[in-house]
């Protein structure tokens, strides 16, 4: 009974929860609805007792690995500790029990928070105005590209359809370009992931809407020529988009706005410690420079003498991209985090994130190949195991790490590095934890040399062993069905 599906526990007449008895006359639905609007039988939802429900989900949770379980050095995902005070504040009924259609006068606290957060995020990124509406990083990317397009169109420049994206970029970048009805032009990066200025120059033209970049790049390296790049793009009439996934390296140190970026998105669930929830909800605010403000989605918070107000008055606005005001409950957590850290804490966070990444990278340099041998920022990429010692595909190293109790790094990304292992330790980890990880990584190299079978057949200690993903895709079983 401990590894079943919830449907397999179902038994008619069991209940985990009941609502109060109806206190108005119990008229039949047929008395006010056409009979053929009604379904013949209620939907097949399982019926279980409350204890069976709680045990089911408790046991499932115990088959999951979270940040509170252990180290999670998943490159480009910034899996840092999710502070508990964030959770407590986001659950205050004075916030949770407000409806999005209440009058502005009844949600002044919410609006004030949103306005404060807007300003804080602008200060951190060097932008002029933020919208909190995007629900995820990719959603923010899509919005940012829409803003570019809207900007050019408003200038009468309908020809600019191309977005330049380096081949080292996050996979969402080109996909988001497509979502905004634009075209991707991929340019090859230099080996260290930096933009190849010649390739960029060649790609530029009056059909280019802009460039998408992350800085530090996906190899964890700062784009040293960012000023030249910005100049080049701007001079050609394009805009610069900053993918904020790697913001954790630079808070209080440098700002995309100062580098020349026109549009920035942030992943609050990365840099600003809101929980990932097993894949969401996230929050991906987008900030812009002055000239792009008119195109931001409605509504935006305005501070008037009479108080805060949600304004829909945006004649050039691209409209809306999500139902209400974005993931309020999530960005409220980010707000609490920023208050908790302050200007001093945010800067220290970036410094220590970078320290931790370099510590791990240089500690592993004899056992693994460094993608680039140069101090990194908040993350770094290994080009697989040091083949002078042993040979072992990255995927097996990752699986073997599970037996050591660690979540593996991101694997096979960025695509430009062979056998890539992308490691982002974050600032919330202690030296002791990093040492433990380093030792495990080294031990796996030794094992790969002395007992490669052990590594190749890993994991050995997880709730399930290696799963057949190919079979799953070939014959997709995507829902439970009762046995006949």
């Amino acid at each position: 009974t401990y590894e079943t599906l919830i449907f397999e526990l179902s038994n008619p007449d069991r209940r985990a929860f009941e609502i109060p008895k109806v206190d108005v006359p119990e008229e039949s639905l047929e008395s006010f609805l056409p009979k053929d609007a009604l379904r013949e039988e209620a939907p097949e939802l399982p019926q279980v007792s409350q204890v069976d429900l709680m045990r089911h989900y408790t046991n499932l949770s115990n088959r999951n690995y979270g940040l509170d379980t252990g180290f999670y050095p998943l490159g480009s995902c910034t899996m840092k500790y999710n502070p508990k005070i964030n959770e407590d504040m986001a659950r205050l009924p004075s916030f949770t029990e407000t409806h999005p259609m209440q009058d502005d006068s009844l949600v002044q606290g919410n609006l004030e928070m949103m306005d404060n957060l807007d300003q804080m995020l602008c200060e951190i990124t060097g932008m002029d105005k933020m919208t909190l509406q995007p629900i995820a990083g990719s959603h923010g990317e899509m919005l940012g590209l829409m803003l570019m397009k809207a900007y050019h169109a408003d200038k009468g420049d309908h020809n600019r359809k191309k977005i330049i994206v380096p081949d080292s970029s996050h996979g969402t970048n080109p996909a988001s370009v497509a979502m905004a009805g634009l075209e991707v032009v991929t340019i090859e990066s230099k080996e260290n992931g930096e933009v190849d200025l010649d390739a960029l120059q060649e790609a530029m033209g009056d059909d280019v809407a802009g460039l998408m970049l992350t800085n530090p790049n996906t190899l964890g390296l700062f784009e040293k020529q960012i000023q030249e790049i910005a100049k080049m793009v701007h001079e050609a009439g394009g805009l610069l988009y900053y993918d904020g996934a790697n913001t954790n390296a630079i808070m209080g140190i440098t700002r995309p706005g100062d580098m020349g970026f026109d549009i920035v998105h942030l992943n609050l669930h990365k840099t600003f410690t809101t929980p990932h929830g097993g894949g969401g909800p996230g929050s991906g605010p987008v900030g812009v420079k002055e000239r792009l403000i008119p195109y931001l989605p409605v509504p935006f918070v305005e501070k008037k003498e009479a108080g805060y107000k949600l304004s829909y008055d945006g004649p050039k606005s691209i409209g809306k991209i999500s139902n209400y005001y974005g993931n309020f409950g999530i960005y409220l957590r980010a707000y609490v985090y920023i208050l908790s850290m302050g200007y001093n804490g945010l800067k220290r966070a970036s410094e220590v994130a970078v320290l931790n990444a370099n510590y791990v990278m240089y500690s592993l340099k004899d056992h693994y190949k460094l993608a680039v041998d140069r101090p990194c920022k908040h993350e770094f990429v290994l080009a697989g195991i040091n083949t002078d010692i042993a040979e072992m595909p990255t995927v097996n190293i990752a699986k073997r790490l599970l037996d050591y109790g660690h979540h593996p790094p991101t694997v096979y990304f960025p695509l430009i590095v062979h056998e890539a292992l992308m490691v982002e330790p974050t600032e919330t980890e202690s030296k002791e934890m990093l040492d433990d990880f380093i030792e495990a990584m080294k031990a796996i190299v030794e094992e790969s040399k002395n007992d490669p079978e052990l590594v190749k057949t890993a994991p050995h200690t997880t709730p399930v062993r290696k799963l057949d993903e190919v079979g799953a895709a070939r014959n997709p079983i995507v829902r439970w069905e009762p046995e006949e």
């Binding site: 002044q108 979502m179 009805g181 929830g277």
Partner: protein, 447 residues
């Protein structure tokens, strides 16, 4: 020291020494001096938990809501949420996990998604479901893209009785992909098959029906609309309120191709608009056109049942610029809350919630019509939400209700000036007779 930063100055020294550096600054040397901020961020210094609590409670204190009786709807409803929901989603193994890239240590999340997909499929009567999307509005837009992708047509037809924000979002999404949005007029509040007939053509990719629609009315020509849509080789997208499916015919029953909606009602709090989640279910043949994650059943090397993310060839990190969707997160934790909610209620419970909501809404409606001068906006069958209109601006009505601690409804003037005196009132199973009687009393007092 900062509680969320583990390493101390001493650790810093030790670590730098171990790897042969002298200062953290050396790691930043590649950042040009003129790009350095060279000043402190203009933020306050770090606050402690105690100070934050005071600050946040003061902010929250500027809101009103938790003490008010809520008759607001428009897709977001104040419902009974079982206590187990919060206990489950507060398990840190769930909420602090990332997307389940390593299935061996993510069976919790993966099985939850698989079960969620089954629950949504059963609820909507569709064959397959994905792992959830951002929200109901963007789910409609994603469904429109699926229709475009499937039919290779570029035109989406929607009636003007859908949620105005859904329309706004759809408009934005479609415009940027150079797709055409055709909004057709409704007939006394409900979808007009005749109006559709006039616009539908071989260029149509998809037709959207929202049931119940934004005015709370139950659509009465869905079968005909589905038939007409399919005859034109377009896809029928049905946007539904998940709770109403406890008793209303499902998209599957009607033969819809894609079912979407917002899942807030399924155990998620009001939260001032989010996080909620969008759900999407479809026929089996559309599965490879679906955006978002999908979990599938498989076996491990010992033959034990397990779950993985599957059909990933659809996804952006594989297809890059060929992707038709950039979704790479879902709203996993909200979908978990919804799963727990659906399991807590079960088959009977969801029918009860739907039935009670409808019964109570009709009680209030009947009382208003009987005892006050307010008239229905549309005199047609509705489910649990209805428009009333009178001689005074809706804002005044709301004000009078608020004095008695009642959030009276949504002003329908957001749908056009013809509705300036109209209020959209939602009633859930959580509202009591006493609360509704008070509502009526206030309205009586306005005469």
């Amino acid at each position: 020291m900062f509680p969320y930063i583990a390493n101390t100055p001493q650790d810093e020294k030790d670590m730098l020494k171990a790897i042969g550096f002298n200062s953290i600054e050396e790691f930043f040397e590649d950042i040009p001096g003129e790009l350095r901020l060279n000043r402190d961020l203009n933020l306050k210094p770090a606050m402690t938990e105690g100070e934050i609590k005071v600050h946040m409670e003061a902010l929250g204190g500027k809101n009103r809501g938790k003490e008010l009786v809520n008759f607001l709807g428009g897709g977001v409803y104040d419902r009974h949420i079982p206590s187990v929901v919060n206990h489950v989603i507060s398990r840190s193994e769930f909420y602090t996990a990332y997307t389940p890239y390593q299935p061996e240590i993510s069976q919790g999340t993966l099985q939850v998604i698989y079960e969620y997909q089954t629950l949504i499929a059963n609820l909507t009567g569709m064959e397959v479901s994905n792992a959830s999307l951002y929200d109901g509005a963007s789910a409609v837009a994603e469904a429109a893209f699926m229709a475009v992708d499937k039919t290779r047509n570029k035109e989406i037809i929607v009636p003007d009785n859908i949620h105005p924000n859904t329309l706004r979002v759809l408009r934005t999404y479609l415009r940027f992909k150079d797709l055409e949005l055709v909004v057709i007029p409704t007939k006394e509040g409900t979808f007009s098959k005749a109006a559709l007939e006039e616009k539908i053509s071989k260029n149509t990719a998809g037709v959207l029906v929202q049931n119940p629609n934004f005015f709370g009315l139950v659509e009465d020509e869905i079968e005909e609309i589905v038939e007409l849509t399919h005859k034109n080789k377009a896809l029928l997208i049905m946007s539904v309120d998940p709770i109403t499916l406890g008793v209303l015919k499902s998209p599957g029953d009607y033969g819809a191709d894609i079912a979407v909606g917002d899942g807030q009602s399924l155990g998620n709090g009001l939260n001032f608009g989010g996080p909620y989640f969008g759900f999407m279910a479809a026929t089996k043949k559309l599965i490879r056109k679906m955006p978002g994650r999908i979990a599938g059943e498989t076996v491990d090397k010992d033959g034990k049942r397990g779950f993985v993310l599957t059909l990933q060839t659809r996804e952006q990190h594989i297809r890059r610029e060929k992707a038709t969707s950039n979704i790479c997160t879902n709203q996993a934790l909200n979908a978990l809350a919804a799963s727990v909610y659906m399991v807590a209620l079960g088959k009977k419970g969801i029918a009860e919630v739907a039935t009670q909501s409808a019964q109570k809404a009709h009680y209030l409606y009947n009382q208003i019509i009987e005892k006050t001068n307010f008239k229905p906006v549309y005199d047609k069958p509705f489910f649990m939400e209805f428009g009333i209109t009178g001689d005074i601006p809706a804002a005044k009505v709301k004000e009078a209700l608020l004095k008695e601690g009642i959030l009276g409804g949504i002003e329908l003037r957001i749908c056009g000036d013809q509705f300036k005196n109209a209020l959209l009132v939602a009633v859930t199973e959580k509202r009591t007779k006493e609360e509704m009687d008070q509502f009526v009393q206030v309205l009586e007092g306005l005469q």
